[in-house]
Symmetry: C2
Subunit: 174 residues, 2 copies
């Protein structure tokens, strides 16, 4: 579907144009990704926890913001880890004073996991300014620009989604 890159003149002059632009865009996308990875690592390090723990914290804060209660089971589902791992995870976060275990109001088997106020502050301090800047930049886009950017990002996401899980066949080495 692409380009066909026909035998025309593919030598020196031509394919820079559109291809160089495309490469620039994809490089920017890669730069974004790697900035994101680096940021997450810094955050993890500064909060002294692993990826899963931090994801859990984010989820808990988000849920709290919306007024939703979160049980251990919810966490397990969301993080895609076993209930045993969630127990251990919550132990760690309780130990470090990031969350509390509250009794579930109606189901006495359940526990409701609530982030402490300090956690909220800590994360806001860490990520609040960043979100501000991002929102500000996004708001600075004209309607047309916003449309272009959003469409592009969704196309990229779709491209990623389409990657066949496909166990390759060749990965079955003995």
């Amino acid at each position: 579907m692409t380009t066909a890159d026909p035998l025309v003149n593919r030598s020196e002059y031509w394919y820079p144009e559109s291809k160089d632009r495309a490469i620039g865009v994809l490089n920017a996308l890669r730069a974004y990704r790697s900035a994101e990875v680096a940021m997450r690592k810094r955050t993890r390090d500064s909060m002294g926890m692993g990826e899963t723990d931090l994801t859990a914290i984010r989820y808990l804060l988000e849920a709290e913001r919306r007024g939703h209660a979160v049980t251990a089971k919810d966490l397990a589902r969301r993080l895609e880890v076993s209930s045993a791992s969630v127990t251990a995870l919550i132990d760690r976060l309780v130990e470090s004073d990031h969350v509390r275990r509250d009794p579930h109001p109606t189901d006495r088997r359940s526990v409701v996991i609530v982030p402490t106020h300090d956690t909220d502050t800590e994360v806001r301090d860490t990520l609040g300014r960043m979100h501000e800047v991002m929102m500000e930049r996004a708001e600075a886009l004209s309607p047309d620009e916003a449309r272009v950017v959003e469409r592009f990002l969704r196309e990229m996401a779709n491209a990623l989604d389409e990657v066949p899980v496909e166990p390759t066949g060749s990965s079955t080495l003995h």
Copy 2:
């Protein structure tokens, strides 16, 4: 996933004002990120290895493409893990037939890590089509659009880079 159909205007609001637009864009960015994370997870699962191993493989293939030799030390530096971990990592990849240990041409202490041909094929099979689609979409952008997208992504990356490394002070808890 996916929120609103961007095509239809939602009942009450006219059309997104600047904030709604911004939120849409940032949501698309988030969707992209989460598609990327999911893709990586699928790839890891299908190749039966962890994140670090896969990153190593990517690095090795990239280096090979550019004709650069890679030593264990290079891997340690790039992956930011200890030399001991690299030894274990290479052991795993050798075991699974993804890489070879070759003697360094001049330094007999060193080993040069080389991806096998099968590895190259495997990764190309898995990710080649995806890259094609992404490139195709990126090439479809007009010069103006490409400029807008690239600038936006770089602004986002900068916002992430600016996150203070050491916030909080409240991370010293116990």
